[in-house]
Symmetry: C2
Subunit: 221 residues, 2 copies
């Protein structure tokens, strides 16, 4: 496996496949075909097979995939079998919502702490966690071996927050702040912009709208 | 332009380009090259040019792009120039956080209402909005011409919520519930799974970890 060459889009799809396999598994379904996986994710079966082929042979022709086994393999490929540790920086509404978001824990991510520099937020309770001050971040990351820093601070504070996290030894950053941040080359960073999803929807709505305009224009003529 | 054939990945990137162009514009920068855009998004300049070429000629060889003009064009392509209307269904923590998320309004999305079927939440204040009961949803969507429904209800309630929204005449659904939902063929739907981003990070962290293991293994031999 040439892991370095695996497209990020493939990795994203593996994560989505795994989630659907988990649903099948929870529903007691034992086998699945690439066509059925494709239908669940609105993709093609060729794409599913190509994505999986980066990592080896998982299915049997004419028989399909063992749901449980394939999911275990995907979880392992995604590095989820051991669990991952994370903290949230920024105890605003989004930070709190993410701290309490079930979806992370379900997939093996342990949100270990939440930090804020606003002393009026420090000490506040977010589920099981208490908001900690920023000066405790460095030691917390080191002593708990925290791997992922999730940033939900305002844009102007994002870069300094990333710098603190990388100095503390974090391995990856998930940035929800509405600006791009720079990280050292050995640190992985993903910028999540919630509006991007809305804009993709808006684009396709625009296509439908222009079709409708054409149709109604044609009727008038 | 064969808009139907434009890959969703291209549309996603256009949205990201536009956001970066907005930052340049806000900083008073007038011109930008495809290489500079590529650097801002960790992509290649060939990819940038290919993405833009679906929609026409925007740049001048050797001179680059007019930042403001290119951004206006991208906003128009994304259907953002007129503004879009949306509602949130589910007034839990994530629903509230999204209602108050600045990033939507900045990009022309007007969150007009927030709904919940839990009567203990109905009447509560979320920023300027008051949580409305579900029985008001249909009329609200129709009379306000709401285009996008953002779903932040629990998984078991997601499909019925989508059905209500599509019956009311919504054009697109952004689904944050941790299950897939089915929509009629003329309705656009995007499932947002916040854990996917974490899993992609986890995958690349795994690659780094296996490199380190190999290195330390080599040292021992």
């Amino acid at each position: 496996m040439k892991a370095e060459r695996i497209p990020e889009a493939t990795v994203t799809r593996l994560s989505v496949y795994s989630r659907h396999l988990q649903q099948l598994e929870d529903n007691g379904i034992a086998r699945v075909s690439s066509q059925e996986i494709a239908e669940m994710v609105d993709g093609s079966s060729a794409q599913v097979r190509k994505d999986l082929a980066y990592f080896g042979e998982f299915g049997t022709r004419g028989v399909g995939y063992d749901v449980r086994l394939l999911n275990r393999n995907l979880m392992k490929i995604l590095g989820l079998e051991k669990g991952r540790t994370a903290i949230i920086v920024g105890a605003g509404r989004l930070g709190k919502a993410l701290t309490l978001y079930n979806g992370f824990e379900q997939r093996g991510f342990n949100i270990m702490g939440i930090f804020d520099k606003d002393m009026s937020k420090v000490g506040g309770q977010v589920g099981k966690l208490t908001v900690s001050p920023m000066y405790k971040l460095d030691e917390f990351v080191k002593s708990n071996n925290v791997q992922i820093g999730v940033i939900t601070v305002p844009g102007f504070a994002a870069q300094e927050t990333v710098d603190m996290l990388t100095r503390a030894g974090i391995k990856a950053v998930l940035n929800f702040a509405p600006v791009s941040v720079m990280v050292p080359p050995d640190i992985r960073c993903r910028n999540v912009d919630l509006a991007v999803n809305m804009e993709v929807l808006s684009f396709y709505m625009g296509l439908e709208e222009s079709k409708e305009t054409k149709k109604s224009g044609a009727k008038k003529n």
